[in-house]
């Protein structure tokens, strides 16, 4: 966004509570790699130039990449400046920080969708002998006591942590809710390559059937590894991870798992099948069939005959619970009435209900790729357009 504003000579500052790429530096686990391949992180006027376009950035590489972009575009970053509140003022907005106030006609909220790890209410009932932690606190398996670990949630975070923790010798039970299965590589190409090429990632928020639902879809079960391995539930079962249903309750120290595991796996297998069908059709229509490997389907997700419905959390078998139950944004500093009853920001493709306020970097903001680094460019171009028109007085306050 800073780059797009600069191109339009719109005077601005970028306020950062820590340093550039702060979340990547301070709130992510050590082994995490970007889920998208190197070539795919395309920012306005900046892209990957190394010799491993199909690799996945490690955390230090992500940090270096974002740092370098900030320098290349000479982004006017005010580091170590924490915004304490944003409120309406006569001229637009008053942005209060721990280093003085700013008056701005427009504000772009680019704090992201993953500020706070979601923890389900039933966490309160976890017996005190069991240690609990969120992915924000998790760094590596050595942090955990020896013994069993219950990982709750089977999207990208849950599957990655289950894999790493189980391989460290701590037997993992994985509580599986809704999840989206995906092969890392399909017909010889990265799944992200297919979704990018076939236009799936460019699908717009105003073109999908149900945008509210589309914004809630969990992250694909993907991981970035040098082997380009698929990390689905079958892969986890293969190394000995035990699958159970969604954690539905904790009663007198006993965890209760939903009996819906089989159906959630069926839903996910069917959804993946439809995505691969879309890819195959696109490949045929675009004459790629001779060029890439033949279509294939993955074997169905294996679910044991009668998955356990309960587990005694007081027996000592489980020493740690990891909540991989998603993240939510933190708008506690936002003193503008733009949140709905569920605490979500009301906006139309990033144009927030409050005139002159914009939002970036959340799931399906304007396109399926909006939450990816690769999605920032197109969204910033669109929204900086709108922002410039707003400053020129050419946008009616109700016109989104």
């Amino acid at each position: 966004m800073s780059r797009c504003l600069a191109e339009r000579s719109i005077d601005h500052v970028v306020l950062e509570r820590g340093e550039v790429a702060n979340t990547w530096k301070t709130e992510r686990w050590a082994s995490l790699r970007l889920l998208t391949p190197n070539w795919q992180s395309r920012l306005p006027g900046f892209g990957y130039q190394g010799d491993d376009p199909d690799g996945y950035r490690t955390m230090p590489e992500v940090i270096a990449f974002i740092d370098r972009y900030a320098k290349v575009i000479s982004a006017p970053v005010r580091a170590h400046t924490t915004v304490t509140s944003v409120s309406r003022s006569d001229a637009g907005y008053l942005v209060a920080t721990d280093r003085g106030d700013w008056h701005a006609r427009t504000v772009v909220l680019a704090t992201g969708a993953c500020n706070i790890a979601r923890v389900p209410a039933l966490a309160e009932a976890v017996p005190s002998a069991v240690t609990t932690l969120t992915p924000v606190q998790y760094r590596n398996p050595d942090q955990l006591e020896e013994g069993g670990v219950l990982v709750v949630g089977a999207s990208a975070t849950g599957t990655q942590l289950a894999d790493e923790i189980h391989r460290s010798g701590r037997p993992v039970t994985l509580a599986v809710g809704e999840h989206i299965r995906a092969p890392r590589v399909y017909r010889g190409r990265d799944l992200e390559w297919w979704m990018d090429a076939a236009g799936v990632l460019d699908e717009r928020y105003d073109e999908v059937d149900d945008i509210v639902r589309a914004r809630k879809v969990p992250s694909l079960q993907l991981t970035g590894s040098s082997e380009r391995a698929t990390l689905d539930l079958n892969a986890l079962t293969g190394i000995g991870v035990k699958l159970v249903g969604r954690l539905a309750g904790i009663n007198e120290g006993k965890a209760q798992f939903s009996g819906s595991l089989r159906n959630l796996c069926a839903l996910s297998d069917l959804k993946m099948g439809r995505l691969l069908d879309t890819i195959d059709e696109w490949a045929t229509d675009n004459g790629l069939d001779g060029e890439v490997e033949a279509p294939h389907r993955l074997p169905p997700t294996e679910v044991e005959e009668s998955p356990p419905l309960g587990m005694d959390l007081t027996s000592g078998e489980i020493r740690t619970i990891v909540w991989a139950t998603g993240f939510r944004p933190d708008y506690s500093w936002l003193d503008v009435p733009v949140l709905d009853r569920k605490g979500q920001l009301r906006h139309d493709g990033g144009v927030v209900e409050s005139p002159g306020m914009y939002l970036m970097g959340i799931q399906f903001l304007r396109r399926r790729k909006s939450a990816l680094i690769d999605g920032a460019g197109d969204d910033a171009r669109d929204l900086s357009d709108h922002l410039a028109s707003y400053l020129d007085g050419q946008v009616a306050t109700t016109d989104h």
Binding site: A248, Q256, S258, G259, N263, A266, L267, L270, R274, S306
Partner: protein, 186 residues
């Protein structure tokens, strides 16, 4: 109906359901329902239950007619078998909920159904209810539902209907997840 429209008709008014969804999104208070039943003991293990009124959309509601249900145990339990066993009502509740869901979702996805047939098997070790072995639960061990569906759709599309129906089913949820139950005596 315009001639160009495909006349998919499963007898479900999807538009009314979608309108209700929209209205209740705006006014979530109206979405709070209360389902009710009353029951009267007859004799032995035989009881007679009634459903008539319920609460929803912010006011008292009523079924078109009063529905009654006799429940009893089979003769092999030395009962008179004057009605289905209570656990069989659970199976009936589950399959009728899933079947209704399949019809509604098929209508929404413009899939014409010709027939839906289902068979249910709920396994139970009655050592639990008889108090013979405390390690055996009282309820079902496993429930298996088998659907035979004839529809204008591919095998995967039919599987997706059935999967989505489970995802949205109240009874499926009630059976697969725990529910707090309060029982009081007047």
């Amino acid at each position: 109906m315009a001639a160009s429209e495909t006349a998919v008709d499963n007898g479900v008014n999807v538009q009314a359901l979608l309108d209700a969804r929209e209205a209740l999104t705006a006014a979530p208070e109206g979405a709070k329902f209360e389902w009710r039943a009353t029951c009267e003991w007859k004799n032995g293990t035989h009881s007679h239950s009634t459903v008539e009124g319920f609460f929803g959309l912010g006011e008292e509601q009523k079924h078109v007619t009063t529905f009654t249900f006799d429940a009893d145990h089979p003769e092999i339990f030395a009962s008179e078998d004057k009605g289905a066993a209570p656990v069989e009502y659970i199976l009936v509740g589950l399959v009728s909920c899933l079947t209704a869901g399949i019809a509604a979702i098929a209508q929404h996805r413009e899939i014409q159904l010709r027939s839906i047939k289902a068979t249910l098997e709920g396994s139970m070790d009655i050592q639990g209810i008889l108090g013979i072995d405390s390690d055996v639960r009282n309820g079902f061990g496993d429930i298996k539902v088998t659907f035979d569906i004839d529809a204008d759709a591919t095998a995967d599309e039919i599987k997706a209907l059935v999967a989505q129906s489970q995802k949205r089913s109240a009874v499926y949820d009630a059976i697969t997840n725990p529910t707090n139950i309060t029982v009081e005596v007047n």
